[in-house]
């Protein structure tokens, strides 16, 4: 028998959008029966490349070989026929249909008006799911499933269509640590049967944990492909950014002061929804970073909305939130901001910036009430411009366009630095609430953002930090509270966190125990 053909071989793939080269002469090979990770920062061209393989985009030049045969896909339909399947970061499922209906959608065997053989299909899908350790009820509607289960349905859909190469785009972004582990087991079992997996991720830990080989992309070009066995986090980060990166944040000890934010027995239930917060109690002191660990959906967004005053006013709320002894519950965001609270929301494009506005207008957003920015009529444009120039320098906010370009043209990391600058510079600020401050931000920017957060702590701010990255929480926090099902189930003290930080590993697993 001859040497088997690789699952996919890409040679010299180039794709431009206007003058921007999203992929520039990318060549890589995914061997059969392996998990191949594709790592890189946001905007490095990972998604473009996977969309090309999946037939959503056509390359300007270069060629694709699948199982040794040259291919040119005009649409995903042809890619699916060639045995390629993709799980997008945002699932492509119809929420009102059942698991079986979703899986068979688009591949129905029955004629248009003929009834579908539902029983048989359900049996097939149940078998398929058991075979790969991905149990789901074939009759459940999608909307009743958890995110992890929905992802299983997406993978089952590919298996049902007999995909031999599975492309997964950031599959762990929505999963809890145990769910992630389970997904990795499934992936391993799939490749052991001779299938191949292309795993797109920006999390270096995952690359090392599950892949056989890894390709790193940087600014549209392939920075290199190496076997995972010879890779380290530092090496991968260096390949992604193009320079040495400080992965470990230096976190000097600091004695916290008096409590600034006190939350006392907070309960929250929105109309028609189960209780989301159940007597949550915590306090954050001046000069302290209080980290909140937890899987999304355990009350984080409700807590944030209560602190910031954007909660659903028809919800039932009891308990108390106080800032320096002043009650925050019932106030509006404008009043809360004036008392000295700054907030960096989790979804910055939706909540924190207006993409069509320029940098200057976005620096004003939420701070437009400050006297200092007011001119004779409207705003003091000169001061605003001066501030913009100073901030873009101090926070290293880079934009490719001159002047005051729309924020949509900035990269995610630069947008986040802009939001950070605006919120940290609010006059009279006492409390900083950070929700996933480095989500979707490139490694280079993470370094700076972490440094600024620690600087803010040094100035005596109380900081409440929400993050789904345990590593980030451990690196920055003074104390860590584990949020599960609407209540802090466990709190790690200063000493515990300090010791945990010093350990090489194990602390994150300890936290993981309290949030599931």
């Amino acid at each position: 028998m001859a040497i088997p053909f690789p699952a996919v071989r890409l040679s010299g793939i180039t794709k431009s959008f206007g003058e921007f080269k999203a992929n520039d002469d990318v060549s890589l090979t995914i061997a059969k029966g392996t998990i191949h990770a594709l790592a890189g920062e946001n905007g490095a061209g990972k998604s473009t490349l996977s969309n090309i393989i999946y037939g959503l985009l056509r390359p300007d030049s270069g060629s694709i070989e699948v199982d040794g045969r040259p291919m040119s896909f005009a649409s995903p339909r042809q890619a699916i026929a060639a045995g390629i399947g993709m799980v997008h970061q945002h699932f492509m499922l119809v929420p009102t249909l059942t698991v079986t209906e979703n899986i068979t959608l688009g591949g129905e065997e029955a004629a248009l008006f003929q009834p579908m053989p539902m029983r048989r299909l359900e049996r097939e899908i149940l078998e398929l799911s058991k075979q790969h350790g991905m149990e789901v009820d074939p009759r459940a509607t999608i909307s009743s499933l958890s995110v992890g289960e929905q992802q299983r349905v997406e993978i089952l859909k590919l298996l049902y269509r007999k995909a031999r190469l599975l492309i997964l785009d950031e599959p762990t972004a929505v999963l809890s640590p145990p769910e992630t582990e389970r997904l990795f087991l499934t992936l391993r079992s799939l490749v052991s049967e001779g299938r191949s997996v292309m795993l797109i991720t920006h999390k270096l830990g995952e690359v090392l944990a599950v892949s056989d080989s890894v390709s790193v992309m940087r600014r549209g070009r392939l920075a290199g492909t190496i076997p995972t066995a010879s890779a380290t986090k530092e090496k991968l980060a260096q390949m992604m950014v193009g320079r040495d990166v400080l992965l470990k944040t230096v976190n000097p000890p600091q004695q916290p002061g008096e409590p600034v934010l006190s939350i006392d027995r907070l309960d929250y239930s929105a109309p028609g929804i189960a209780r989301r917060l159940r007597g949550l109690t915590l306090n954050v002191r001046a000069g302290e970073i209080y980290g909140i660990a937890g899987v999304e959906g355990n009350g984080q967004s409700e807590l944030i909305s209560l602190i910031w005053g954007t909660w659903n006013r028809r919800a039932r709320v009891s308990g108390n939130i106080e800032l320096d002894g002043r009650r925050l519950l019932g106030l509006h965001p404008s009043e809360i901001a004036e008392i000295g609270v700054s907030m960096i929301p989790e979804d910055r494009l939706r909540f924190a910036v207006i993409p069509q506005f320029g940098i200057e207008e976005n620096l004003l957003l939420g701070r437009h009430r400050e006297q200092g920015y007011h001119g004779l009529i409207g705003f003091d444009r000169k001061r605003l411009h001066r501030d913009m120039e100073r901030i873009t320098g101090e926070y290293d906010i880079r934009c490719s366009l001159p002047g005051n370009p729309p924020v949509a043209s900035l990269s995610g990391g630069n947008q986040q630095k802009l939001v950070l600058a605006r919120e940290m510079e609010r006059p009279g600020i006492r409390l900083l609430v950070l929700a996933h401050p480095t989500r979707g931000v490139d490694i280079g920017a993470i370094e700076l953002i972490h440094a600024r957060i620690l600087e803010a702590r040094k100035k005596g701010l109380a900081i409440l930090l929400f993050s789904s990255e345990l590593e980030e929480l451990i690196a920055l926090s003074t104390r860590i509270g584990c949020l599960f099902n609407g209540v802090i189930t466990h709190e790690f003290s200063e000493e515990e966190v300090r010791e945990g930080r010093a350990e090489a590993s194990g602390f994150d697993q300890e936290i993981g125990l309290h949030i599931t």
Partner: protein, 343 residues
């Protein structure tokens, strides 16, 4: 050339397409488009009367266009400028009629204009209130309010206020009339153009200033572009919706200044004749920019009176088609460009 640089030319391009299409329709009826065009230009810009007529029509269109454009900034589609203009006109006619015969114009004119703006504003605010309180789509509510306005004004006119055996109300008092441009500048155009043209210019300038310079305009735009981000930044988005609609309605109602205070001096059946709807096209062509509305209203004002002037050559119906095709082209071309070039 990149897409960015092309953007400003899209309205011009669609206009060109619309004119070519209009020409073809005219040619299809057996007339020479060139001849019609020459006649149109001569009868409008060739005489003082023609120019005055174009200005007069432009003026109402500017105000109706602003009435649509300002709510547009908070992502509201005000289809109700017609109803707001109707209510404004009726209120102006009533107010002007009820004022004492010898009222000083310094009081009479502002009072009557205020009545018109208040009526238009209330009419538009009703739709805004339904939207804020119950989430009713403003397109539907403003359309329905147009019918209600038609019904109310029509009923009150025929059953109560019309001068016997006519379809108009008694004339307003001299103290609430706006002087014509002839009297103001010593011209002899003998056209209906009046001081309201300058008021409309001022309104466009004020709206431009409001949107581009003031804090209120800034928060309005923020609420329109991204309501969630605006709310997060502590901006009262519901308040901005109400404010924009109230302003839009007031501006549409102010159109009565031109029709009632400046020209007819009474309210009559068919006074507004769909100008409010034309205002939608005016605002769309101008990209809802209050300064560009001046030009776009001028174009529609010219088409309006020009069409009337060539009535003997081209039937009115054909000109209605030309106008509608123009609007269609102007609305669909930018959308076509967008879908083509944005991924």
């Amino acid at each position: 050339m990149s897409r960015k640089n092309l953007q400003p030319f899209i309205p011009l391009f669609s206009l060109l397409v619309a004119l070519v299409a209009g020409g073809m329709i005219i040619a299809a009826t057996g007339k020479s488009p060139a001849e019609v065009c020459v006649r149109m230009i001569r009868s409008t810009f060739g005489s003082g009367y023609g120019m005055g007529q174009v200005l007069f029509r432009t003026t109402t269109l500017v105000l109706a266009g602003l009435g649509v454009a300002i709510p547009f900034k908070v992502r509201l589609f005000n289809v109700g400028a017609e109803g707001q203009l109707l209510m404004g006109s009726f209120a102006a006619a009533l107010c002007g009629m009820l004022l004492p015969q010898a009222v000083n114009p310094a009081i009479g004119v502002p009072a009557t204009l205020f009545a018109a703006m208040a009526a238009g504003s209330i009419w538009a605010s009703a739709a805004a209130w339904l939207k804020i309180r119950y989430g009713v789509n403003e397109v539907i509510s403003t359309i329905m309010l147009n019918f209600v306005a038609q019904g109310i004004t029509g009923f009150l006119l025929t059953s109560r206020f019309a001068v016997p055996s006519t379809v108009h109300t008694p004339a307003i008092v001299p103290g609430s009339m706006l002087p014509g441009l002839d009297a103001l500048f010593g011209l002899s155009w003998h056209s209906p153009a009046n001081l309201a043209t300058l008021i409309a210019l001022g309104a466009s300038a004020a709206a431009t200033l409001l949107l581009s310079r003031t804090r209120y305009g800034y928060t309005m735009k923020a609420a329109g572009l991204s309501p969630e981000a605006a709310r997060h930044a502590g901006i009262d988005t519901d308040g901005r919706i109400l404010g924009a609609m109230a302003m839009g309605g007031a501006l549409a109602g102010l159109g009565a200044g031109n029709l009632v205070l400046g020209y007819k001096h009474w309210f009559e059946a068919g006074l507004t004749s769909g100008i409010g709807f034309m205002g939608i096209a005016v605002a769309l062509l101008a990209g809802a920019h209050p300064a560009w509305i001046l030009l776009s209203a001028l174009l529609f004002g010219w088409l309006d009176f020009g069409g009337l002037a060539v009535n003997t050559m081209v039937p009115k119906e054909v000109f209605m088609i030309v106008q509608a095709v123009t609007i269609l082209a102007i609305i669909s071309f930018p959308a076509m460009f967008r879908t083509r070039f944005l991924k």
